[in-house]
């Protein structure tokens, strides 16, 4: 998908980042290399405290790299003025946005700030960009609503629309799906994917939502303590098992089969017969209930679900587990 000869929208070359705390240099990240390309949705994953926020600050130009270089569309970030940066990079941050009296449309129009004159008056092309951003994020029905009167998910979409209206090559989002419900989390990430592909934007999302990221991202950047940044398509990282680098303890493993994290407990397989999907959930429920063992084989049937043991039938797992607990010797 990526044209190897094209200039990355955002590029990090042997970056070293850190803070000066009370006269002591505290290194956070070192020897960081990455390329972010247009048309791709890239997810940056990593545990808390690994330095994601530091990297974001460096990309925003708030801290200068100690070593190495950060280039935005080919130009080093340290040489770009605030105004030039604003034309190339738009952000959605984690900090809450306050102005309850502002309408969604006004919020999106604020994205045009770097493009307008001193008065902030919108020209024809600014209006077009605002309209496009609103229709792109499908929030036309919200345009006259005030920010205090819409839901968190809707507000996040409005913030994304604002970033699109800003019309930079790169959009950086810091945990855009935190605090959102499951459907909204999927919708936002799906939306970002569409925008990356159709508007040819380079989108970098910092997220902890591994499962949704696997579904939607083109590229993964895995940041873990002490290891170099691991990049690649999510599917490759899963198949090679490298995705498990994200999970420091052996207790949790990413299951390529189920597409999500699983707890690796002492393998205790119960004698369950039946369709594979059903067996999986029965095993899971029994493990969770800390059932130590069952005397005889169980049979599960689907449509309708039923469970049989010693010619006794149960209509739900809850009922079955209740029975096991009250008759430990059965």
């Amino acid at each position: 998908m990526t044209d190897p000869k094209s200039i990355p929208a955002l590029q990090g070359k042997s970056l070293q980042l850190g803070y000066l705390h009370q006269g002591v240099r505290k290194e956070i990240l070192s020897d960081l290399n990455f390329d972010l390309y247009s048309g791709e949705l890239t997810c940056l994953l990593g545990p808390n405290g690994v330095g994601k926020s530091t990297l974001i600050k460096a990309i925003l130009g708030q801290i200068a790299p100690w070593k190495g270089e950060l280039r935005l569309q080919g130009s080093p970030i340290t040489l770009l003025s605030l105004e030039e940066m604003a034309l190339k990079l738009a952000v959605v941050l984690t900090e809450p946005v306050f102005p309850g009296n502002m309408t969604v449309e006004q919020l999106v129009a604020l994205g045009r700030t770097p493009h307008t004159g001193w008065s902030g008056r919108l020209q024809e092309k600014d209006r077009e960009a605002v309209e496009k951003a609103i229709s792109r994020t499908k929030i036309g029905y919200l345009r006259a609503e005030r920010l205090s009167e819409i839901s968190d998910g809707q507000r996040q979409k409005a913030m994304i629309a604002r970033a699109i209206a800003q019309d930079g090559a790169v959009i950086l989002l810091d945990e855009p799906t935190a605090h959102l419900d499951l459907v909204n989390r999927f919708e936002i990430m799906q939306l970002l994917r569409e925008i990356a592909q159709e508007e040819q934007k380079a989108i970098l999302v910092v997220t902890h939502d591994l499962e949704i990221a696997v579904e939607t991202a083109d590229q993964f950047w895995l940041m873990t303590c002490g290891n170099p940044l691991l990049t690649g398509s999510p599917e490759d990282l899963i198949l090679s098992g490298k995705i498990n680098q994200l999970l420091p303890s052996q207790k949790y493993q990413y299951s390529p089969k189920r597409g999500r994290l699983e707890v690796q407990e002492d393998i205790m397989e119960f004698p369950v017969q039946g369709p594979e999907d059903l067996v999986y959930w029965v095993q899971k429920a029994l493990k969770k209930a800390k059932i130590l063992g069952i005397p005889t084989e169980i049979r599960v049937k689907e449509n309708p679900f039923s469970l049989e043991m010693n010619s006794r039938s149960f209509a739900s797992l809850e009922e079955f587990i209740q029975f096991l607990k009250s008759n430990p010797r059965s």
Partner: protein
């Protein structure tokens, strides 16, 4: 076209109305028609009326307009910059600074043998401006050092408290005569200024307003917080200087000439937000300016006590009249949601 487009003409009309009302009230009753005729034709039925209107009431009304505009816009800038609905023109210690200058002149000055009779309104204004400038440069030094605007806000409040303490000490050791003079100054007055001083106040307000209207766009971006504003190309550090200099000139100049006037600066921006139902500074700046001028003209008119020769101090009137209005407005709507 919606009803909001009519709000500005309505507010403009109300401004003219309250201006004329303000002119027509006073200890000497002058018929309303005579005032209008005199203003437009220059022909007055009595010379005493001409004297009263042209040399007392007219400059006072103009000062009310200037002070109303300046205080409201200082307050609005502070509220947006600090993203704090409780911020007002004086949170950075500007009024305490002006108070310090004036108190040194009146309280310490008498102790050093300067007679109270020698203190005219020019001396008071100069002392006020010097005091405000002193505190302002202290705050600016801090603003240069600190990165976080919340820290700046707290430091400003601390400066204010420290300066007030100095004033208390000065008051404690000063004579009854000087103390009364200072207390009266601290109650605020719009009427003590001659045309020359009105002119200077007008110029100060004009200078203070220029950066306000040049940074409408940046103030709108600042509504999302400093980080978002920076990401949209707004130089927030520069905005901090603009805000300090503009509010310093506006609020500092007004306090130096009129004494501290409470309430207007905090309340008017909120009322403007409620009336215009917007957070767009392109509307809020002119809206707050109009409302501030109207409100201060009306407060001054209320303080006139028709038929009596004395007037109530303006600082007391603004708070007495204003506080109930604002409380009732706030109770009806959720302030922080509107903010």
């Amino acid at each position: 076209m919606n009803f909001r487009s009519f709000l500005f003409p309505i507010a403009g009309f109300l401004l003219v109305l309250s201006f004329l009302l303000n002119l027509s009230l006073g200890s000497v009753s002058i018929p309303f028609g005579e005032i209008v005729r005199g203003l437009f034709t220059g022909v007055w039925e009595k010379t005493s009326w001409e004297q009263i209107i042209l040399n007392y009431r007219l400059p006072k009304a103009l000062v009310a307009i200037c002070a109303g505009i300046g205080l409201s816009l200082s307050g609005l800038q502070m509220q947006t910059f600090f993203r704090n609905p409780l911020a007002g023109p004086f949170v950075l210690g500007i009024s305490s600074g002006a108070g310090l200058g004036v108190s040194i002149l009146m309280l310490a000055g008498t102790a050093l043998g300067i007679s109270l009779a020698g203190i005219n309104s020019w001396a008071i204004a100069t002392a006020g401006i010097l005091g405000a400038a002193l505190v302002l440069s202290g705050v600016s030094l801090v603003a240069w050092k600190v990165k976080d605007s919340m820290t700046l806000l707290i430091v400003g409040l601390m400066f204010g408290s420290a300066v007030s303490a100095v004033i208390s000490v000065l008051s404690y050791f000063s004579g009854a005569e000087a103390l009364k003079l200072f207390t009266v100054w601290s109650m605020g007055s719009l009427g003590a200024l001659g045309w020359n001083q009105v002119l200077i106040l007008g110029v100060l307000i004009g200078i203070g307003l220029v950066p306000v209207f040049l940074s409408v766009k940046s103030y709108n971006a600042l509504l999302l917080g400093e980080n978002y504003a920076r990401s949209m190309g707004v130089r927030t550090q520069k905005m901090r200087w603009i805000m300090i200099l503009s509010t310093g000139t506006l609020a500092g100049g007004i306090t130096a000439f009129c004494g501290p006037i409470a309430f207007i600066g905090i309340a008017v921006p909120h009322i403007a937000r409620m009336i215009w139902k917007t957070s767009d500074h392109a509307l809020l700046f002119p809206g707050s300016a109009l409302l501030g001028a109207i409100l201060l003209l009306l407060c001054d008119a209320v303080g006139q006590l028709p038929g009596y020769s004395s007037t109530l101090p303006i600082n007391a009137v603004t708070s007495l009249v204003g506080a109930p209005i604002v409380i009732s407005l706030i109770l009806r709507r959720n302030l922080s949601r509107d903010f």
